[in-house]
Structures are given as C-alpha cells and as structure tokens.
C-alpha cells in the first residue's frame, strides 16, 4: 500500500468525476507540471488504486427502465452449492452485480430489466431456477448517487 499526499487525493477526486481530463489540465489545476501529474497518475494506476474506467449510461434511454436489487438466501449450503450458484448467476446477462454477503442474505444481485413485466420474466425463468435458491427479496431502485468517499 502506498501513502497518498493531498495532491494525490486531489487527482483521485478529479479523475473519479472525469477520467478523460488530461494530465496537462490536471497539472494546471493542481499546480503540477504535465509530466509530474502524469507520473502521479501512473503511480496510482500501478498501485491498483485507480482500478480502471467506467462509463455510466442512461439506462432508461436505452430501454432499461427498471433496476432491481435482490437479496437471496440459499436454501441449501455447502461449498459445492455456492460454486454452482455463483457460476449460474454470473452467466445471466441481466445480472450486473453479484456480491457474496454476510447477514440477512447470502447474495446481493443487481438486475436490469426493460420494465416490470420483463423483470418478472427474469425473476421467474432465471433467478428462481438458480441452483439452491431460497428466499428472495426484491427492492426496486429509485435513485442512486456515487459519492467521492474519504479522500481528505
């Protein structure tokens, strides 16, 4: 793990808002030369702190009006059934996120669908038929926002 100074944190905050900002522009904003800004960004990438880039899309404009988070409890447990479940659930195209969690549920899924009828199809044909699936709780996403996090 590397130590960050205030300038690194400024760079991270700026790049987590817009990853296309050039090293020159970032340098001017934070009082660095272009090569110095570039070196710092490369260092953050090499240390795995910048894990990549992500593009957000207007899902509704593309016809995906519904996002649902599912909490899933497995009915049967054991190493084999976890692996079977994970392999099957990650293969579902409508499932964007699969997280193994500890608590009320065993897994958290983020599912996209065109509308509620489409979601019902995914739920019945794909989710409820997963190996070992037990109790399922659904919450329809209304709003989401990402925050900069503890960057000083």
């Amino acid at each position: 793990m590397i130590d960050l100074d205030d300038t690194d944190r400024d760079l991270l905050r700026a790049l987590s808002r817009d990853a296309t900002t050039s090293a020159g522009a970032l340098g001017r904003r934070f009082g660095l030369s272009q090569p110095a800004a570039w070196r710092r960004i490369k260092r953050l990438e090499a240390a795995g702190i910048i894990a990549g880039r992500r593009v957000a899309v207007d899902r509704a404009a593309l016809g995906f009006g519904v996002t649902v988070f599912l909490g899933i409890k497995l009915a049967t447990k054991g190493r084999v059934s976890l692996e079977d479940f994970e392999r099957a659930v990650t293969a579902i195209p409508e499932v964007q996120v699969v997280q193994h969690v500890l608590g009320l549920f065993d897994y958290r899924l983020r599912v996209v669908a065109r509308d509620i009828a489409d979601f019902e199809r995914v739920l019945r044909r794909r989710i409820m038929t997963l190996p070992g699936v037990g109790q399922v709780e659904a919450n329809v996403l209304l709003t989401e926002e990402a925050l900069p996090g503890p960057l000083g």
Partner: protein, 152 residues
C-alpha cells in the same frame, strides 16, 4: 435520439471495457474509427453516455471493510428522506446512496479501514443520522461480478 445496431454494438463493447481506446472500440464494434468517434460523441451529447470516471479501488487504499446498510425511515416525518440523505452525504465513509421502492427505503455503502473504525463510524456517524426506524447490515465478503453491461 434513436439508437441503431451500430450504436448498440459500440455501447455493448464500451460497457464491457471502458478502458478501450477509440480504435480498439471501433474494431470490436465493426465500424471505422471515425464513425465510432462520431457516434460516441453523438450519444454523449444526447446524454446517453456520461463521461468516463475513474474507479477507485478502496481496498488498495487500505479500506478493508465494506458494509451495505439498509435503512427503514420514519415515514410519519414528511422530511425524513431529504434530511436523512443530506446528512448521509456528509459522512465521508459513505461511498454510495441508493433509494428504493420495497421493504428497504435507503441503502448506504460504508467503507472503513478495519472493524474497529467501522464500529466507530457506525456509532458516531450512522446511528446519529435523522429519522431512522430500522437498520440492517450486510457485510461484503466478495464481489463475484461487477459489470455495467446491459443485455442490448
């Protein structure tokens, strides 16, 4: 704005790997680099794709704990949502906020360096948020899948 098959192919590859340079994206989507560039810019101007943002790997920064906190709010208070969300935005360790229709009203993603720090954040910053009726916690063990891909 209408999306055609070429746009859809570009989006599919862009969402699968947002680090792709324009030339590689064009090759994968089967269009010329100039067409690819123009179409990405057109979709960006129409608000269908947002600017790419850097993904921060909090674990690489020493944040080993991630907890999904699910809240029910006191709905007898008309300002409960607004006041809760405004206060939650002020907690630096909250990296995402989602609101739902369902059994859960709001979800916060909270990160901490270790369990001791999590405990401290939970007691001093989370339990003190306004209008909480109930809280459930899911501790993240592993992220099995995390993609922004849509089944376009």
């Amino acid at each position: 704005m209408l999306i055609d098959d070429a746009d859809r192919r570009i989006l599919r590859h862009l969402l699968a790997d947002s680090d792709l340079a324009n030339a590689d994206l064009a090759a994968r989507a089967g269009v010329t680099p100039a067409t690819c560039w123009r179409r990405v810019e057109r979709m960006r101007a129409a608000g269908i794709i947002a600017v790419p943002v850097a993904v921060i790997n909090w674990r690489a920064l020493g944040y080993e704990v991630e907890v999904s906190l699910r809240f029910n709010l006191d709905k007898t208070e008309p300002r409960a949502f607004d006041e809760f969300l405004a206060a939650a935005r002020d907690v630096p360790e909250v990296i995402a906020i989602e609101t739902f229709l369902g059994r859960v009203d709001v979800r916060l993603n909270v990160i901490a360096r270790d369990m001791a720090q999590y405990q401290q954040i939970y007691r001093t910053r989370i339990l003190t948020l306004p209008h909480i009726a109930d809280i459930e916690a899911l501790m993240l063990i592993a992220t099995i899948k995390d993609e922004s891909a849509l089944p376009l």
